[in-house]
């Protein structure tokens, strides 16, 4: 274990023993559900453990401000996931009955959609649409260009922008 990793573990351990109860209460008020609050409190500390660098001085000085920043990110992911789940259920409900996918396939696909949504979150609408038309529909640049009313060179530019954004979204993890 590197010195940095052991320093992080010690810091997180200290934060956990002093602030876990407080964070759990904060999350319960925000979410209105004790189970979800317990899950997200746990996730918050797991997230801290996966950091590559030790906490900075100002983060340690205001530990609760820091913890709520991380927890807020998780809460917003949580809502986003719920929205996706609702949208997915609604989409599936609109599909013809005999061809609806099996429950286990639906669940796996929801996970995949959460992942895709996270990757594409910051993209501009046209860039996002071009990327989806290419990666999901399998359209050619020419077809995408016709669809979006732009030239093929612009589509290629969109594709590069989208992939760069995805690579950077992965960086932030």
């Amino acid at each position: 274990m590197s010195a940095a990793e052991s320093a992080i573990q010690q810091q997180v351990h200290a934060l956990y023993s002093h602030h876990h109860g407080w964070l759990y209460g904060w999350l319960r008020r925000k979410l209105g559900c004790s189970h979800q609050a317990a899950d997200l409190a746990h996730d918050t500390f797991v997230r801290l453990l996966s950091r590559r660098e030790a906490l900075a001085l100002d983060e340690l000085r205001e530990p609760r401000a820091y913890l709520t920043t991380v927890a807020k990110g998780l809460v917003s992911n949580h809502w986003r996931r719920q929205q996706l789940e609702e949208a997915w259920v609604a989409t599936l409900a609109a599909l013809p009955e005999p061809v609806a996918p099996a429950p286990e396939v639906r669940a796996i696909l929801l996970e995949t959609l959460v992942e895709i949504d996270r990757l594409l979150d910051t993209l501009k609408p046209k860039v996002r649409e071009a990327f989806l038309l290419s990666q999901l529909d399998g359209l050619t640049y020419k077809q995408i260009g016709e669809r979006l009313g732009v030239g093929e060179r612009m589509v290629k530019k969109y594709m590069a922008q989208a992939m760069l954004c995805c690579l950077q979204a992965d960086d932030g993890r």
Partner: protein, 340 residues
């Protein structure tokens, strides 16, 4: 600190290069030379290979999802969640409105095609129920008649006026484009693109057992049929042709019945009773069957079909006087036609 900053800059440069290669390689026009240069780029630096692995990992969830569900269902879900999340409703909803269109041409071999097709029908811009007919005037003045049980999307873009026929039958009476330069008017079906060459024509699609077959009858001008496999045929006025994903076959002179429905008429131009009943069945959910003895009897006549629920009983009664047949109700609630 300075080192770390440089390393982060280097990483960003490699990421940008990888993203550009990704865009180049996904282009259907990527050349062998470009692929060779891309491989050289990967070999040039372990950092390149490492970032390229991440590009591949990022593509994976998209490929998984596309193989398991129709792309439009996935895009709808993502768009819905986005609009719910951000409340920027107008901007995002306009994304959700993109139609299936050309995707059908490109993805014929994917396992969910049947599902995709039913989804497209259910979500089409314009639909008629069994026995229903409707006329539309498109933004460019083109007149579009929808026959019974039909589903179409109208997708006018910057370079194309596209009508997507998912099911049923349409009659297109094309107008000159209101824009200059004029955009081509096309009808996309799951297995072919029909390009109007100044024209009035009827297109009909039949999806049976996952296989789609189409039929086009041309009354004015000409229509070019293009299949995904490259096959092409120009059908001139007065002629008709049928097509599947595999081929195109001329089908003699244009059958007036393929146009007459738009005037509320079902025309039988010396055709077997079985063929007439097959046509009639498209307008009603009641099962109509013909006995083998009655099936080959030939029928000539024009029958009104503007209001199927009212007109079909009249047509059935008229058959009894036109041909030596008896029309009977079956216990199951259907209709059976037998020779007298």
């Amino acid at each position: 600190m300075a080192d770390r900053g440089d390393a982060a800059d280097d990483e960003r440069i490699v990421q940008r290069e990888a993203a550009e290669w990704f865009a180049v390689l996904h282009d259907e026009q990527a050349s062998e030379e470009q692929r060779r240069r891309w491989r050289a780029w990967i070999d040039a630096d372990p950092a390149h290979a490492r970032v390229w692995e991440r590009v591949k990992a990022i593509s994976q969830p998209f490929a998984q999802a596309a193989n398991a569900a129709p792309a439009q269902a996935l895009r709808d879900t993502l768009a819905k969640a986005q609009s719910a999340g951000r409340r920027r409703a107008l901007r995002v909803l306009s994304l959700g409105g993109v139609t299936v269109g050309a995707g059908l041409l490109a993805r014929l071999t994917l396992p969910w095609q049947g599902w995709l097709h039913e989804y497209a029908v259910a979500r089409a811009d314009h639909r008629t129920d069994i026995g229903e007919q409707r006329s539309l005037t498109l933004p460019d003045g083109t007149r579009l008649d929808l026959n019974t049980a039909t589903a179409v999307d109208v997708d006018f873009g910057r370079s194309l006026r596209r009508i997507v026929l998912h099911a049923g039958e349409i009659l297109v009476d094309s107008a000159p484009d209101t824009q200059a330069p004029a955009r081509a008017l096309v009808v996309d079906t799951p297995c072919a693109r029909l390009t109007a060459l100044g024209t009035r024509f009827a297109v009909r699609g039949d999806a049976r057992n996952e296989a789609f077959s189409g039929h086009v009858a041309v009354f004015e001008g000409a229509v070019r049929i293009s299949l995904a496999n490259g096959a092409q045929l120009d059908v001139p006025a007065g002629r008709q042709a049928r097509f599947t994903a595999d081929g195109i076959e001329p089908d003699g002179r244009a059958d007036l019945a393929r146009e007459s429905w738009s005037r509320g008429q079902l025309v039988a131009d010396d055709i077997p009773l079985a063929a007439f009943v097959a046509e009639l069945s498209r307008y009603t959910s009641v099962s109509v069957t013909v006995s083998p003895q009655a099936a080959p009897l030939r029928l000539v006549g024009a029958y009104p079909i503007a209001q199927p629920s009212r007109d079909i009983p009249v047509i059935l009664a008229a058959l009894e006087s036109a041909l030596p047949v008896r029309v009977e109700r079956t216990p199951a609630g259907g209709v059976h036609i037998r020779a007298r």
